[in-house]
Symmetry: C2
């Protein structure tokens, strides 16, 4: 049983009536009433839990950890097109290490301040090092970027370049962390949530997800929720420069199934192609058209001649 099946089986019930959107997307949507300008809004809510020894090594740099545990939640808000507003922090610590806590808080608050997201409350306890953050944001009613809105014919786009974070993980696990380029470490340790892009895509994209488990696996979630299929063109996929010297099979593995990229993958009508390309051209974040939503189900990846590209694994599973 993988984590998705676990959630479906034990925690996913009949569509709840009071929520605009429940389990199964990057975040849930709750009715938030009308703001001061009289506009109806939705509250966007997402939770992540990071466990020492599973999501990070026990001797991780605490400032990076403080950044990352908030970043993965803000990335979920970005994937919904939401503006971050507040977060709560639940923290189990094996003991009190003041230097560690100062660095952790510094990393977390530096990111929070950059996006105007305030710590609203939390809980601390003694226990195996575990961090759970719940982030809250807002989006105008009907403007959220959901996983279930992709349509056949949509272009598929991705921000940034893929594979550097999983390459850094692989090299560290192999004991070659010291030789890693700094940029690859930054991609793994300090992912930048694509908040501005999410806001800009509110009226341009149809479906979106953030890339946490790997491109093919995460695209599979869009396909499943939207009841469509997808075709990715391997030659069009922006692969991180750090992977340039690797064999193609390794580049395919890391860029398509590696995870931890925290870029946005989104679908958009072809008529928005120019506007999205312009967003990419004017921003600092590359936007690349990498495939198409098709009728049917499942994700296929094709090479320059349209032949299927074989994949070793589809995405990260926390219970594998």
């Amino acid at each position: 049983m993988d984590e998705f099946e676990l959630i479906r089986r034990f925690f996913n019930r009949a569509p709840p009536s009071g929520l605009e959107l429940g389990i199964g997307d990057d975040a849930a949507l709750l009715r938030a009433g009308r703001n001061a300008a009289g506009e109806a809004e939705s509250l966007v809510v997402t939770t992540d839990m990071l466990v020492a020894g599973r999501h990070f090594v026990t001797d991780v740099d605490p400032e990076s950890l403080g950044h990352k545990c908030l970043a993965v939640n803000l990335s979920d808000l970005a994937a919904m097109g939401a503006r971050p507003e507040a977060f709560t922090l639940a923290l189990a610590l094996p003991g009190i290490d003041e230097g560690w806590l100062e660095a952790f808080a510094r990393g977390m608050f530096a990111l929070a301040d950059r996006y105007g997201c305030e710590l609203a409350g939390g809980d601390t306890t003694r226990g195996p090092l575990t961090i759970s953050i719940t982030a809250l944001g807002r989006v105008p009613n009907g403007a959220a970027l959901r996983r279930d809105h992709a349509e056949p014919g949509d272009d598929l786009w991705v921000s940034g370049a893929l594979g550097a974070a999983s390459y850094a993980t692989r090299e560290r696990l192999a004991g070659r962390g010291a030789e890693l380029p700094a940029a690859a470490c930054t991609r793994l340790d300090r992912p930048e949530p694509r908040i501005a892009l999410g806001l800009a895509l509110r009226h341009l994209a149809r479906a979106a997800i953030d890339l946490s488990d790997g491109l093919v696996g995460d695209l599979g979630h869009i396909c499943e929720r939207s009841r469509v299929g997808a075709e990715l063109r391997w030659p069009d996929i922006p692969v991180a420069g750090e992977l340039a010297a690797l064999a193609e099979a390794e580049r395919i593995e890391l860029a398509l199934a590696g995870g931890d990229d925290y870029e946005l993958l989104f679908s958009a009508a072809a008529e928005n192609r120019g506007a999205i390309a312009a967003l990419g051209a004017h921003g600092t974040l590359e936007l690349t058209r990498i495939g198409t939503i098709v009728p049917g189900a499942g994700v296929t990846v094709v090479d320059a001649r349209g032949r299927p590209v074989p994949l070793a694994r589809a995405g990260f599973n926390h219970f594998a």
Copy 2:
């Protein structure tokens, strides 16, 4: 350093501008806009984390655990006078035990359904058994029961009877769990959040807190936040029937400092005394006047002759 000092030192910053109420109460308050009836509301947000071996024994009954981990969060909402709306669940599991998960979900959803509180999302991962829930509720603007609104001269009230949960903990730790009365086990394992009472107190109480760490310690939080003192009358305190056979020193210890009661402690103007007594008389939940808010600082407990009652400890500290 205890957990309160830890939070103050590393996570409590200048009063945030975007929040109505930040760290330091049972829950945070965020502006929620106007509801369909045009009334301005606040969103109420609270988080708790429960760790195996610290907050519960590893072989705990999973159905009770599912109940309790949501109940402690709903109790925080009750202490704010909020109506529960939704919650998120982050769950680290050492492995997948289907029977355990079914029972856990059953306990959690039975409580959630009773209060119309829907699971909006979550995260599951492998790790040491840890449960973090964030609960969201709503309250009309200005109606929240905050810790910082107590005033000298206020009556102090408490719901229910105190000490049964900590008595059950003590007996289990001493290996006498099998001889415990069922009612004491229920108080520890399945506390009932005082949601209806919190709603009824919106316009009657001034300050409120839920009793998780012990009466004297939790009252200390109201005193600190309201910059007042408090005097409790030991003979007036409703002690659970399960403690009747114990020596007075033990009854004092368990009822005043035991924790885990999840009753509401609140202050109210003397002019509301009749209305609050009527609430208690007409409901199934006893409400007892146990003391007074006074000028100054700190909590004192006096006996029938007004002499101080000595206390061994003030409240539970997760880092002690």
